[in-house]
Chain length 269, copies 2
């Protein structure tokens, strides 16, 4: 673990990341000493920092820290948090804050291989996401909605929960982005009012563009989701999970999901 | 500063307070070694912890820690944070987490005496609060909306910003609760969809009950706010600030605000 360039696992209790969730993060996968899609993650980090008015640490500095980390931990889930740092008391950010850089590594979770192969069982969460256009898309540290949603179930057979927003739009999984296939078109929710725009979501759209498959970003309700030909979830740690069950609907055939998964797993950087 | 009962100002980077804003807090004022309305604050803390499923630390333990702190710092703004503590990776809270207790003290801010006496200039924030009934009222650590709202202005003459929600309802100040007086009735926004229910808000309602003044909790728009006979803001640090200016509206006469302020400042515990 690395905090502001030094080995350590502690942070000031006056850091605004703790006080207000005033920061952003990335979660990426490292394999054999290489962090997958690091530059895509850095671009997202930069975008998210800009959205909150946090001065994003330089790519050279972060890349050097990441390399140090990977020397020690060549395989694992790497988490990078950038907070606004410490400041004067109160919500208003002070100009002189120096952002904090926090790195942590965890073992790669041992999900059943079957989930990626034959699909997962998902559930619909009761919690509805609120709509805040100023924070939508950003992978920020205000994640209580995700915590409450993930706390709704403890059946280990259920791999992920699907979230709707307060208007009933399908948005995402608690820790993943969501796609549908309908009549040869990829569909994915518009995330301009809530949700997180992950790197894997972008990569799926990149796949679609490269394979001449139309990809439509829009507002979709639960009825449309359940009527889809295929449904799958993505993030940087799990890769792609086809969904085989949600509510009363089952899917047993995932040809497009399979192609996308294949590409996501092998088209490394 | 006290972290889990020990002198210190550091917390683990794996604490869920940092990772997800998974915790709650209180801000109270200490004067001459006494924390004002500590038991009311503890009740709120207990309520907020319960709402998030965090095991609230015992009142005896927290009171003892507070007393230790007040021996060192008899006067100041005391902040108490209770997070869910550390856990396994991922949003879902683990049952075995031990909540973290974090205490900090800052000097009492030197606001111009004129603000409490003749009222403040307030502004209307552009940011609209999102609606999340599962988090409304709770003083949790997901405070990016407050941060963004407070970042909207830097004119030191403007003491506070007023927040509406996405539906246009008047909700609160960025760090205060809001009251209006209309025809001898106190009005304060319903906070069941967003906002924080502060201790001073409850004390104002207690004042109203004790003085036979009706107090109505409801949905009020900006038009109603600007048409009010009086408007004031409260929190545990500032006490009560009458508002003398908001947008094109000015108020120069605050008889009820004055009475409430007098009572809030003197009816100590």
């Amino acid at each position: 673990m690395l905090v502001n360039g030094k080995l350590g696992n502690l942070i000031s209790i006056r850091d605004r990341g703790l006080l207000y969730g005033d920061g952003v993060f990335r979660t990426l996968r490292a394999t054999q000493g290489k962090a997958q899609h690091w530059l895509l993650h850095y671009q997202k980090l930069q975008h998210d920092c800009a959205a909150l008015g946090i001065a994003c640490p330089d790519v050279a500095l972060l890349s050097a820290e990441l390399n140090d980390l990977l020397m020690q931990h060549p395989d694992g889930v790497v988490k990078l948090i950038v907070t606004r740092g410490e400041g004067t008391r109160g919500y208003a950010p002070s100009i002189q804050s120096t952002p904090a850089r926090i790195w942590d590594v965890s073992p790669i979770p041992g999900y059943p291989a079957d989930w990626a192969m034959h699909g997962i069982k998902a559930r619909l969460c009761h919690l509805r996401l609120s709509q805040q256009p100023h924070l939508a898309g950003i992978k920020h540290l205000n994640r209580l909605e995700n915590v409450l949603a993930a706390a709704e179930w403890n059946d280990p057979e259920i791999a992920e929960g699907v979230l709707l927003d307060v208007s009933g739009n399908v948005i995402e999984g608690t820790r993943s982005n969501l796609f549908m296939v309908r009549d040869g078109t990829l569909l994915t929710p518009d995330l301009s009012h809530c949700g997180v725009t992950g790197v894997q979501r972008e990569r799926v759209m990149e796949w679609a563009a490269a394979h001449n498959m139309p990809c439509q970003i829009g507002q979709f309700g639960l009825v449309e989701l359940l009527a889809a030909d295929e449904m799958f979830l993505v993030n940087s740690v799990i890769g792609l999970w086809p969904v085989r069950e949600l509510q009363d609907r089952t899917w047993s055939y995932h040809p497009i999901s399979r192609q996308v998964q294949e590409w996501l797993n092998h088209a490394l950087d």
